[in-house]
Subunit: 419 residues, 2 copies
């Protein structure tokens, strides 16, 4: 008689700590003697029956996994549509689960995967296949509902705050004769959570960053330039944190509105150079800009300890919930106290999480629109607290691991996914 | 009777560890009971008689300075010309040194400041003012002659190697359904030292980065695109490290050649977006690019221990040389062994250092022009070895210090510098 297996899959943009969640899932399941399969490249692997046998990985590899960025089994950008539209795919998924005796399915992702998890639990029930589906939270965007924060966010927040503090010290030293305006562009297409975290670099009023540009606040060119000028005149330089999702009053992304390449195409992915050109043309200041892009969300070397612990905790709880028979839930982080910061994990129904985007509360943006409030600080600061550096090897690089990812033998006919 | 004072000044682009040199200068001089003044904003402060009394800084502040990025007393981009052309300025400098009884002058910078140090020592001799001038090496560009490496370079090299490794793990996880080409642009206008350091991210053949684009190798669009395509087809994705100084066969910077903004101006400071557009237009791959800019040279949180130790050692030696009566020298790093890595500090005549730019040796670039050789690895790897993290405070940020920088009372008439 088979005891059943657990399937774990990663979804969407990866984070510095999603592998800590993966390591917790495997570690917790191993203690309970439950075999863990992983889907290669997320739900795509689950559909294609491209599964990985994690039992082949050594305890040392799983230990190193806890400190390794990226998604160890592969993740994907692939959204299943409604049960009506994508019925064949959902049925295929159930067939794969059944073929491999999967009784517990853990899907580690953001909003879309919470939604997918919910639908899989629904169709499984409809088809009479017994599987407990548990969503596991993860996203640098911090936009999941119900949970107080999302694993992955605290580390990108810490990276952003530390980088802004460091680069500002650099600019400050040189501003008398060199760069006067420094712009760093951060992720956050729809919500300014990461931009807000840049504000933590300022320990006291007047410290950099001097201006934060949120996607929630329409960009006002004149007001922005006046602020930059006043800041340079007052402190000698100006550090700006700009969200990639910054929009003008007409609702257009600035990154797409301003600059065209030699072929006349809109330049994508660069609000910082647009702002920099503006500063040069209108104010004549020497500028520099940075766009850390993936560096910010993969910077495991600078992970927040709080974040790494929470990433582990949701993975552990997800296994425990699934094995305890819970279905269509997600372990969420509940904050019980700001100071001292205290949190616990609780199960929340996936219905409450799926398709609800959590945006930056109005009360987190200062009245002038260019900074964060004390309430934002109370919320954000505990999330970047503590360090959890990886082990470094003698060659000066962190001890990051690439798993063997041995394939499980297929039992079903091949299945093609049209992209 | 006065005993004389020591003047320390920082010059040019700052680094993650130039303040470790500053801390070593102050610490060593304090042990010898020699008062240390610092020039505010480098040579500009020395000319303006804008001096800082470092004796007002606490021992705790100097201790924290060792771990603080940026230039604590301010640096500058300001080059003194020849003794003939800039005679009035050199004479002013000597007047300032004399007014404050400065008997030892330490100038911490790159090629230009080695040259300036040499000239100051020459005019002082000519004017009969007794001052020992010692150049102190510093530059992320690693282009100073004589010294085996330059303090500041090892840390930016470590930042680059670690960031390339981390971001590549991220891209690797997503490449089946998302970004296939990732380009990170690194500093190095004239020499590919930092780009080469990106190659350390690869522990074994085939590891990312898959392509390095050096300023020393003329960019060949067709060959580049063919390599990107072959890499994506072989491993699923392609990580590219591109030097900001990349040039085409006609010797033009790619960052200036390719892209124009909406106003028809060449876009400055962005070879990565130019390459990314090329990849999209010619190969159709989804891309991302990063441009860490100042983040790379200010990332004290990821400093190399070798680098931090060498930055301290040159500061300490500079004081010892000056107090021992040496003049027109620079403490340089001499490598006595690759494996185990061993180094020592020796004095070198400034004449041998000034105005000689050290470029990447031909033997460090692989025959195909897209990678580094074993010789490059032997040279580079010890420089990123070891970690020296700053202390972090409870708020999750490093304990970086801003000094009080109390001004010394002026003794001379004001002096204006036309910029």
């Amino acid at each position: 008689m088979s005891q059943g297996k657990l399937l774990y899959a990663q979804s969407g943009g990866v984070t510095a700590v999603i592998n800590a969640t993966a390591a917790a899932v495997i570690d917790t399941a191993r203690r309970r003697k439950v075999p863990v399969l992983a889907a290669r490249n997320g739900i795509i692997g689950a559909l294609r029956e491209d599964l990985i046998d994690t039992s082949k990985e050594s305890a040392a590899a799983i230990k190193a996994l806890r400190h390794t960025p990226g998604g160890a089994f592969g993740s994907c950008r692939f959204k299943l549509k409604s049960l009506e539209q994508d019925r064949a795919r959902y049925e295929r998924l159930i067939a794969v689960l059944k073929a491999h005796d999967i009784r517990w399915f853990l899907y580690n992702g953001g909003n879309d995967s919470a939604d997918t998890s919910l639908k899989i639990s629904q169709i499984a029930r409809e088809l009479g296949y017994p599987v407990n589906v548990v969503g596991v939270p993860k996203t640098v965007d911090n936009d999941l509902a119900v949970t107080d924060c999302c694993p992955g966010f605290g580390s990108v927040a810490k990276y952003t705050a530390v980088s802004v503090a460091e680069a500002s010290l650099d600019v400050e030293s040189m501003c008398a004769s060199s760069t006067k305006v420094f712009i760093v562009e951060v992720m956050g297409r729809h919500a300014g959570w990461i931009a807000a975290a840049g504000g933590l670099a300022a320990r006291k009023a007047g410290d950099p960053p001097h201006l934060i540009l949120f996607p929630e606040v329409a960009f006002d060119e004149d007001a922005f330039l006046a602020r930059v000028k006043a800041t340079v005149e007052r402190v000698g330089y100006c550090t700006v944190v700009a969200s990639e999702g910054l929009k003008n009053a007409a609702g257009q992304f600035l990154a797409e509105a301003g600059t065209r390449d030699a072929f006349g195409h809109a330049q994508l992915g660069g609000v910082a150079p647009v702002l920099a050109q503006l500063v040069r043309q209108k104010l004549g200041y020497k500028y520099h800009w940075a766009l850390p892009d993936y560096l910010q969300r993969s910077a495991r070397h600078l992970a927040s300890k709080t974040d790494a612990e929470q990433a582990w905790a949701v993975g552990k709880a997800a296994v425990e919930y699934a094995l305890a028979g819970r279905n269509a839930v997600m372990p969420v982080i509940v904050r019980t106290s700001d100071a001292p910061y205290r949190w616990k994990i609780e199960p929340a129904p996936l219905e409450r999480v799926a398709n609800h985007e959590k945006t930056l509360p109005k009360g987190f943006i200062s009245r002038d629109g260019y900074g964060i409030t004390a309430a934002a600080r109370r919320y954000l600061e505990p999330l970047i607290r503590g360090e959890d550096p990886p082990k470094y090897l003698r060659d000066g690089l962190p001890d990051y691991v690439r798993l063997g990812n041995a394939a499980v033998r297929r039992k079903l006919p091949r299945y093609e996914i049209a992209d």
